[in-house]
Amino acid sequence: MTATTTLPATEQTDALGIHQPRLPKWAPAGIALGAAAVGVGIGTVAGLSSRIQWGLIAALLFVLASYAISATVEGKRQAKDRFATSMVWVAFLLAVIPLASLIWETVSRGIKVLDAYFLTHSMSGVVTIQPGGGVYHAILGTLEQVGIATLISAPIGLLTAIYLVEYGKGKLAKAVTFFVDVMTGIPSIVAGLFILSLWIMMLGFSYSGLAGAMALSILMMPVVVRSTEEMLKLVPNELREASYALGVPKWKTIMKVVLPTSIGGITTGVMLAIARIAGESAPLLLLVFGNPVINGNPFDGAQAGLPLFIYEQWANGNEASYDRAWAAALVLIAFVMILNLVARGIARWKAPQHR
């Protein structure tokens, strides 16, 4: 057998009909390179200015060439397989390119003015068309608003999820689940309008970080409930029974057995919920209002916030402001990224150990 496999496939004695000519391993990469080269060639010769057109031509060539070459060498079934594989690759690239270019764009534009000064100073007394100023007040505002929103919605969300999974049966649980579903679908601007009419127009409070945080917590709560619910459901019933069998009451079983077992996943869920609301700008626009100077008190008066800052700077419409907007966007992305990493770290650290 070893002797025959070294022969070219066509010369083999193929009594079983199980041998087939195959393209070499490097074929897909080669075809991709060729397609890219031809795509660039056509693009230049035809004078197409858009790189997107070049890429699309290359992608089309890649898919067609893979199919055609494979069909002539390997046969129909293999060609179909290659066709599907090359489509998957093209789809993958189409999905990744926007993400990669978004990060590239933000980093390359944002890094320009992002320095220690930018992170530690506010926009107080800065003329918007001139360079200078910083984002400190916005970072402070975002941390406070997101922090308060988390303080409001994490406990409520957690308790709701515990109720639904551990206690809830019957009509009330169904109603709660329904409301959580409805809340999941509330657009952020509507949450903002709701707090605006209730807190500011009806009750007469002023703009503040707190008002923004309340709207953010409306957006955050259903996410916390959903993710916590899933995590609690993952805790095996056997553990609850083991605890009951020791004469441990139900509430203590939840506190000391169920929650510790799922705390990693719950924390991850809360972190991801925070990441989701950190970039919300609509409620801040309505409720926090924006403020060029440092206001460290989230309970009184207009504050800044990162998404709001980005919006304002962009709206200024001059180079210096654009630079600041990009730098703030980079700070926001970094903040969310750090939260994600922390969440992963906690999940790994708290995961029940198996050795």
């Binding site: 553990l239 083991a242 004469g247 441990v248 203590k252 510790p260 077992t261």
Partner: protein, 258 residues
């Protein structure tokens, strides 16, 4: 310490479904009573009525009496949580708490129910692990997670956890069915030790095991699927396996069905 259990016309339900019907028997103190019978005849259900774990399932309820010496476990005003401290339980699959160390697993019943001094806990943990024949294997790694032990060790850890709260009765639901033969022997030896102090009830699918470890054996059966399970007979283990008084028992223990 060990107590007698008197069960009087006990039926248990899951919602409308009657899982066991009209069971009466006596479980002698400081002895091992084995429950045998085909799958689904209600052995686990019956066992779980003995420490009020049955009612943990949604819609589950019980009719009849379970007397622990002279106290009816189902009398009004009896706290099921307190009952479970008196009647401990070991499950089919070893289920140590995954977030806790070996030490904390054994101490869990005490720690979760009150405040104890470290020295008290140390003593209880050592005594319970010794009682479960596990001390020598784990004494150097008490702070490692309990889930890192082998299946047989985990099950002995669960037994240590159950006896750490000093129950009067120990219920075991097929404690060896997820274990290899060597671990099974270890648990069976342990049961022989434990019966000096505790009243033990064990559900088993393994006839030889019932014959090896138990003093008395109860045979359960059900007329058909969907029908409630019933106690067919309970007698000294020797008699059940040599000369039972009911034909169905003989058929079952000799392997003719089930």
């Amino acid at each position: 310490m060990a107590k007698r259990i008197d069960i009087g016309s006990l039926s248990a339900y899951y919602g409308k479904f009657k899982a066991i019907e009209d069971i009466s028997m006596t479980v002698e103190p400081k002895s091992v009573t084995a429950f045998i019978g085909p799958s689904g005849c209600g052995k686990s259900t019956f066992l779980r009525t003995l420490n009020r774990m049955h009612e943990v399932a949604a819609g589950a309820h019980v009719e009849g009496k379970v007397m622990l010496d002279d106290e009816d476990l189902y009398a009004p005003g009896v706290d099921p949580v307190a009952v479970r401290r008196t009647v401990g339980m070991v499950f089919q699959r070893p289920n140590p708490f995954p977030t806790m160390s070996i030490y904390d697993n054994v101490a869990a019943g005490l720690k979760l129910n009150g405040r104890y001094k470290k020295s008290e806990l140390d003593a209880v943990v050592e005594k319970s692990l010794k009682g479960a024949n596990l001390w020598n294997e784990v004494k150097d790694r008490l702070n490692r997670p309990g889930s890192g032990l082998s299946g047989g060790q985990q099950q002995r850890l669960c037994i240590a956890r159950a006896i750490a709260v000093e129950p009067q009765v120990l219920l075991m639901d097929e404690p060896c069915s997820a274990l290899d033969p060597i671990s099974t022997i270890a648990i069976e030896d342990l049961i022989g030790e434990l019966k000096k102090k505790y009243t033990i009830v064990i559900v088993t699918h393994n006839m030889q095991q019932a014959a090896r470890v138990s003093d008395r054996t109860a045979f359960f059966n059900l007329a058909a699927v969907g029908q409630p399970g019933k106690l067919i007979e309970i007698d000294d283990t020797e008699r059940i396996f040599s000369n039972p008084s009911v034909q169905a028992t003989e058929d079952y223990v000799s392997g003719r069905f089930g």
